[in-house]
Symmetry: C2
Subunit: 159 residues, 2 copies
């Protein structure tokens, strides 16, 4: 296997394994668990789940793979901090969004060839990309895997 193909596969495998960890965690947490705070006066599980979906939704745009699927999640889960009075979808609805989104992302990611992962993402200009070629699509996966792991480490406290 060619080196670029190998390393791109390693990065994608870590992303997919992280999604699976989150899936497993969601499967053992009840809706009631997810309505609790991860620690006193900290975010609730429902907020973390909605936040992850909103952040992953924005990846579609950054990776130039189409439009956001859940733009209404921006306000309650990215713009605003967690608050019980903020209108937001139910845990059950968010679970459905999460599963559907994982399938959509995996499908879109499969369509990209190794070299295409090294193309620039949409939030960087042509000029800046020449200066720093690490601002590519693969780096979006690398940074979002970090972000996902950070919040899995928090959500696991609801067990």
């Amino acid at each position: 296997m060619e080196q670029t193909e190998l390393i791109v596969k390693m990065v994608k495998d870590r992303w997919i394994a992280s999604l699976k960890s989150c899936d497993h965690l969601l499967s053992i947490l009840s809706d009631e668990d997810l309505l609790r705070e991860i620690a006193p006066s900290k975010n609730r599980g429902i907020y973390l789940l909605g936040h992850l979906i909103a952040v992953h939704d924005d990846m579609i745009r950054l990776l130039d793979m189409g439009e956001k699927q859940y733009p209404s999640l921006y306000e309650p889960f990215l713009k605003l901090p967690d608050h019980p009075d903020t209108p937001m979808p139910s845990v059950s609805e968010l679970r459905t969004f999460w599963s559907e989104q994982c399938n959509v992302l995996n499908q879109k990611f499969e369509g990209l060839k190794p070299e295409q992962w090294l193309e620039k993402h949409t939030a960087v200009s042509d000029e800046d990309f020449v200066k720093d070629p690490s601002r590519n699509k693969l780096n979006i996966i690398i940074t979002r895997t970090s972000h996902l792991q950070y919040h899995i480490g928090q959500m696991v406290l609801l067990k």
Copy 2:
């Protein structure tokens, strides 16, 4: 820049940025903060810090870069769950270990050329490595970055 060199740099940059996040967090948490539980009946900050140092210590062996520097941390922070009665170094000593270790790891990592990151790590046999070349040194960095982010997400709750 050649592709392998570029992607290896991206992976290493994410590792270094994660270490820096942890550094920053440690700089704003007091020793007293680190002696608190991250959530009721969950691990204390001191345990997470010791655990990270113990896990990163084992990377030296896995990456074939020498011997562990802090083998005495295995028992209290890897083998045993967190317990206030377990003998362990003070927060202050662990802070020193953490800083020294970051320097040592960064120095050792700088010595490896991009292609060398794709060589097998020490926990995989030659035979298994042929079957799965992703079991290389770079993957140790990728998985340990995930692990670090997971626990940073927890330690941040002590703020």
